[in-house]
């Protein structure tokens, strides 16, 4: 029992330390700059306790569940040796985790408002709804595509920077042609697609693949999947804006 409780307490302290900067920033601006008291002290403390507890549990679960699972899948696919199934899994993971992502749903709704206000689509709820759904599927497709490219890169050991530079060139070229209103949304959509559960799984998958293939370095080759997943949505969303607008 002692073996369990002591590490857990230490982990709780770590989480508290991670949270400390936010608490300091918020209290400083509230008390010193805005010069107002901190409202609902009790709720603040209770909420902070929940955040600390939640972060601690999350980290424990990460080491016990998500990391081993991602790595086990990577080893199993490497041993099976079927490229098609590995790529199908990569696509499904990217597409499936993005299409239901709450942050993406919020961004897509916002984008449909912009499109309606800018006159790109009709200003009716139906037109906006179908625009938002189309956008969500576009982003999800682009993330699925990104994970596939990233996995292929790990398999063949291509240096990541060439692919990323090509992607940047794509973003810059699309920026020239895309409708002005969509650019802000498109740039932001790169950052919102990767959720808290997807990131550890995808990272473990990449590192697992790179360490199970001979000649690949888990550090230089295993990371980078998330980078592709944040790049392709920008290109695809601007493409969507051009197509619909």
């Amino acid at each position: 029992m002692k073996d369990f409780i002591l590490p857990f307490l230490r982990s709780l302290l770590d989480s508290l330390r991670d949270l400390l900067p936010i608490l300091l920033v918020i209290s400083f601006f509230q008390l010193a700059i805005l010069q107002q008291p901190i409202p609902n002290m009790g709720e603040m403390l209770y909420g902070t306790f929940l955040v600390v507890l939640g972060l601690t549990l999350f980290v424990q679960g990460l080491e016990m569940g998500l990391f081993p699972l991602g790595e086990a899948m990577a080893y199993a696919f490497a041993r099976k040796g079927s490229l098609i199934w590995l790529l199908a899994f990569a696509f499904a993971l990217g597409f499936g985790t993005t299409v239901a992502e709450p942050a993406l749903i919020a961004v897509a709704d916002e984008a449909s408002k912009i499109a309606a206000a800018g006159g790109a689509i009709e200003n009716t709820p139906q037109a906006m709804e179908s625009y938002a759904t189309g956008l969500r599927f576009t982003v999800a497709l682009s993330v699925g595509f990104a994970i596939v490219i990233g996995v292929v890169r790990i398999l063949y050991g291509w240096p990541i920077q060439y692919l990323i530079i090509v992607g940047y060139a794509g973003v810059v070229i699309m920026t020239v042609f895309a409708p002005k209103e969509i650019i802000g949304i498109a740039y932001d959509s790169g950052g919102v697609t990767t959720s808290t559960i997807t990131v550890p799984l995808v990272t473990a998958l990449g590192v697992g693949l790179a360490s199970s293939i001979k000649g690949r370095n888990p550090l230089t080759d295993g990371f980078g999947l998330i980078a592709f997943a944040s790049l392709t949505p920008m290109i695809f969303v601007m493409g969507y804006g051009m197509l619909i607008g």
């Binding site: 700059i33 929940l50 802000g184 808290t196």
Partner: protein
């Protein structure tokens, strides 16, 4: 009573979000791989910890931090706060009058990134894979500095009304130049750290700041100018993480030169 109900609600939301992932993993596991998952019991318990942890985490943020953080973003961007009560002055507000906004943007960007769970996950993995050469704490601080800088610059962009793509393209050029000089081992990790920084903690607060700012600065529209902060927050960490790696490489070289010289 009400509070425990909220947690259940958040928990069911989290489970719903995770459902596609679970279906995909177990689908492939059963149909394609057809091998038992090693330590299945432990993995399942870990999954439950992750779900419970995220539900507590999100619920706690919703109770403690988001309301006050969002309110604060609105108050700091309110022209009445920035320029006192003088109505006429509002029209001649300059970008310099928003100093507190930039400060708040940098501070909130930095501090929320330190607490970001997905960044923590990547940092733990990076430390494990690099054999400790990349420390969890060092990587997170480097990324957090990047997010703080990025968001401060992003708020300046909203206030000054300059086009977003100039900043982003300039940032890309810096990233590409740094890539040529940075140690090869850090590059993939640096690119990844751009995407992981912005999730559960950072996005809601930063979005509130951007929308608040765009709707109060004269001549900006919340729809057209409110976006783009996340893009800054995903770009700058790449620059600071590569910078961090370059710095530690230089310091190592300098140190080894020194010992070399004393050895002679």
């Amino acid at each position: 009573m009400n509070l425990s109900f909220n947690i259940l609600h958040t928990l069911s939301d989290t489970i719903f979000d995770v459902l596609p992932i679970v279906v995909i993993i177990f689908g492939f596991q059963l149909l394609v791989i057809r091998r038992p998952i090693p330590n299945l019991r432990k993995v399942l318990i870990g999954f439950i910890y992750v779900l419970l942890g995220l539900a507590f985490f999100l619920d706690g943020l919703e109770i403690a931090l988001f309301p006050i953080g969002k309110l604060m973003a609105q108050q700091l961007t309110d022209p009445a706060f920035i320029y006192g009560e003088v109505e006429e002055a509002v029209r001649s507000l300059q970008w310099r009058d928003y100093v507190y906004v930039y400060l708040f943007a940098a501070a909130i960007g930095f501090s929320t990134t330190v607490a970001e769970p997905s960044l923590l996950a990547v940092a733990i993995k990076a430390q494990e894979v690099s054999g400790g050469a990349i420390s969890t704490w060092g990587l997170r601080i480097a990324v957090a500095i990047g997010v703080g800088l990025g968001i401060a610059l992003g708020t300046f962009r909203i206030v000054s009304g300059t086009p977003l793509h100039y900043y982003i393209i300039a940032g890309y050029v810096i990233v590409i130049i740094q890539t040529a000089f940075a140690p090869k081992t850090i590059i993939a990790l640096a690119y990844d750290s751009g995407g992981v920084t912005t999730s559960t903690v950072t996005v809601p607060l930063v979005t509130a700041l951007g929308l608040g700012l765009a709707s109060t600065v004269p001549g900006r529209s919340a729809l057209l100018d409110g976006f783009g902060l996340i893009a800054f927050a995903s770009l700058f960490p790449m620059i600071t993480v590569m910078g961090y790696a370059q710095l530690s490489e230089w310091r190592q070289k300098a140190a080894s030169k020194k010992t070399h010289r004393t050895g002679e």
